[in-house]
């Protein structure tokens, strides 16, 4: 597994005395002339499921890409476990070391690669001379497939390639990867898109399992019913800003839906 580097000490994953797994303050993100996020304050508690909702282009994916180390914000500050992060150093690898795992929207797996490579890419199990321990990676992958995901009797093994899998099975692999590395924060970017109904249920159960296991989750979802059901807190993004937040039970599904529609229609009116 990846050696802990000096980064890991910045926000020691074994520390106990923290309230927020991740906190963002006044974060801006611009792509050329497009302001994807402006002055966003956002935090996730130790054992909190935060549902992130908003229209297409509201900045949800941008926000979680900052959390997961894929994008570097244009301005603002980030804390992990209440310790400030040096954003020049922050990367996907560092997020992994800090036990932040992300299942990205659509694809976070290499289609033509076997499952064992997909599970360990980025933090391969290596032997003494830096060679990948293929035997070990296969073993762990096979174990994971049988135990954690329950792919018994599907003819799926560690050597299967991702393109042999259904959408739900892919999502299962991506989530199992996050589980295996014992994330304290799991970020799910629209994990139920293109899933069959029975598979959606599995994902929701998984999110509830994250809560029961004492971990935290950021859950991005188009389907308001799903996110309303499992989230402890809902954060509504609108055009790169946090529009409003609701604690669990503060708003009914119907009101939430109306609020979203109202915001959406608001866009159509006079600008500014």
């Amino acid at each position: 597994m990846a050696k802990p580097t000096r980064h890991a000490t910045q926000a020691d994953p074994t520390a106990q005395d923290w309230r927020h797994i991740v906190r963002l303050s006044k974060v801006d993100m611009t792509f050329g002339r497009v302001q994807a996020l402006s002055q966003v304050d956002f935090e996730v508690g130790r054992n909190e499921i935060v549902g992130l909702v908003g229209d297409n282009g509201a900045g949800k994916s941008t926000l979680i890409k900052i959390v997961s180390g894929v994008l570097r914000p244009t301005a603002g500050k980030v804390w992990v476990r209440d310790r400030p992060i040096d954003l020049d150093d922050y990367s996907v690898r560092m997020a992994h070391e800090l036990r932040i795992e992300t299942v990205h929207q659509g694809q976070s797996l290499g289609e033509k690669q076997p499952l064992w490579r997909n599970l360990f890419v980025g933090r391969q199990i290596t032997g003494r001379f830096g060679f990948i321990d293929v035997k070990k990676e296969r073993e762990v992958a096979d174990h994971l497939l049988r135990q954690a995901i329950g792919f018994r009797g599907h003819g799926i093994s560690a050597d299967s390639t991702v393109r042999d899998l259904s959408g739900g099975e892919r999502q299962g692999i991506a989530i199992a990867r996050a589980m295996y590395f014992q994330a304290d924060l799991i970020v799910l970017d629209e994990p139920t898109t293109a899933l069959a109904v029975s598979e959606v249920r599995k994902v929701l159960n998984f999110v509830e399992g994250v809560k029961a296991g004492g971990r935290a989750c950021i859950y991005i979802e188009h389907n308001l019913a799903h996110v309303h059901e499992v989230a402890d807190r809902l954060v509504l993004l609108d055009r790169g800003k946090v529009a409003v937040e609701f604690a669990k039970g503060e708003i009914s599904l119907a009101d939430l839906t109306n609020q979203m529609i109202a915001l959406h229609e608001g866009h159509g009116r006079a600008p500014g």
Partner: protein, 342 residues
């Protein structure tokens, strides 16, 4: 599982087996067509002397194509590195320094390619086309269009170590196989190689799983440059000659060797073993056809046929559905009587 399916599975499990089988069939065909040549050992020793530069280039390019990129500039590295080596041997009598600087020149060309592609963001096909002209032109200027005859280069230890003979056996074949083995390990057993496969598969996925895409691409082009320079050293020493267009014929042959070997043109999937077999196929066809009495004009046409057959063959074996569909289309187009009546 039906027997045909299990045979297909087994055939796929061993890397490069289909194309190694094609190579063996070709050898047997030549043995039947020209027994007086292909049943002796000499012809094979000759292949082992001439194929290594092609093999080294093709194996290195396999990694580049695995990452979904291309390098068109290696023919100019063959020229540039060959000139550096030739200059240091011919004018200064310093073979070892020439050898090291030749490799350094290849690394520099690769580094410039890597920066242009990964940092500046120019597509590799354009960037390396441009640098192919640049370094090729520079070599012509540096050498003033002249060639170096290195007739007495075989007195140097460097020559004996790299391209000498053990009995009739050419040493460069061992170097080429060592390079192939090393790059097989790099691609299949090193983090770097795995990163290249993921980059070729889907660069966005590679990025979100924590691969430093830009850095790995730069390292890859440097590796390609060094390997092209090494191929150039083998070529220049074997020929005992440098001339400034010596890389010219390699571009298409090397690419053909890689694709015949079963490496995906779309990236993300590559076979070093296949490339080795592909290199020998390319290197053998010319001598084989001439020995069987066919005119030399046929060489390119036959290479083209083998190339096409191999690519369709890989498709049929690896993706039976798509492969069958493309076969149907090909055969349908070639057989007009199967057209549906109006």
């Amino acid at each position: 599982m039906p027997p045909a399916e299990s045979v297909r599975k087994w055939f796929l499990q061993v890397e490069g087996l289909p194309i190694v089988a094609v190579l063996l069939i070709l050898v047997i065909a030549f043995m039947i067509a020209a027994p007086e040549v292909f049943l002796g050992y000499r012809i094979y020793m000759s292949f082992l002397a001439t194929v290594p530069p092609l093999l080294v280039l093709a194996v290195a390019l396999t990694l580049v194509i695995a990452a979904g990129e291309i390098d068109l500039s290696f023919p100019s590295v063959i020229a540039l590195a060959g000139w550096v080596l030739g200059y240091f041997i011919h004018d200064l009598g310093l073979p070892w320094i020439g050898f090291v600087l030749a490799l350094v020149s290849g690394a520099l060309v690769g580094y410039v390619n890597g920066i242009l592609i990964a940092r500046v963001g120019i597509p590799s096909i354009i960037a390396t086309l441009a640098t192919q002209f640049l370094w090729g032109g520079l070599t012509t200027v540096l050498s003033q269009g002249l060639s170096y005859s290195l007739g007495d280069v075989d007195q140097f230890l460097l020559w004996r170590l790299l391209v000498g003979r053990i009995g009739p056996f050419p040493v460069q074949a061992l170097w080429a196989l060592a390079v192939a083995a090393a790059l097989w390990l790099v691609l299949n057993r090193r983090r770097f190689g795995e990163h290249l496969l993921f980059i070729g598969d889907n660069a966005r996925v590679a990025e979100v799983v924590g691969v430093n895409v830009k850095r790995e691409k730069i390292r890859m082009f440097v590796l390609m440059g060094v390997m092209a320079a090494f191929a150039s050293v083998l070529l220049t020493l074997e020929n005992k000659n440098f001339f400034n267009t010596q890389g010219g014929g390699y571009l298409l042959e090397v690419m053909a060797a890689v694709f015949i070997g079963g490496t995906s043109v779309f990236g993300g999937k590559a076979s070093v073993v296949g490339t080795v077999a592909g290199s020998f196929i390319i290197g053998m066809v010319e001598a084989g056809l001439v020995a069987t009495g066919l005119q030399g004009f046929w060489v390119r046409a036959v290479v083209g046929i083998v190339f096409l057959a191999a690519v369709v063959g890989h498709l049929v074996i690896e993706e039976p559905e798509r492969g069958r569909a493309s076969l149907r289309i090909l055969l349908g187009k070639l057989a007009p009587e199967r057209k549906t009546p109006p």
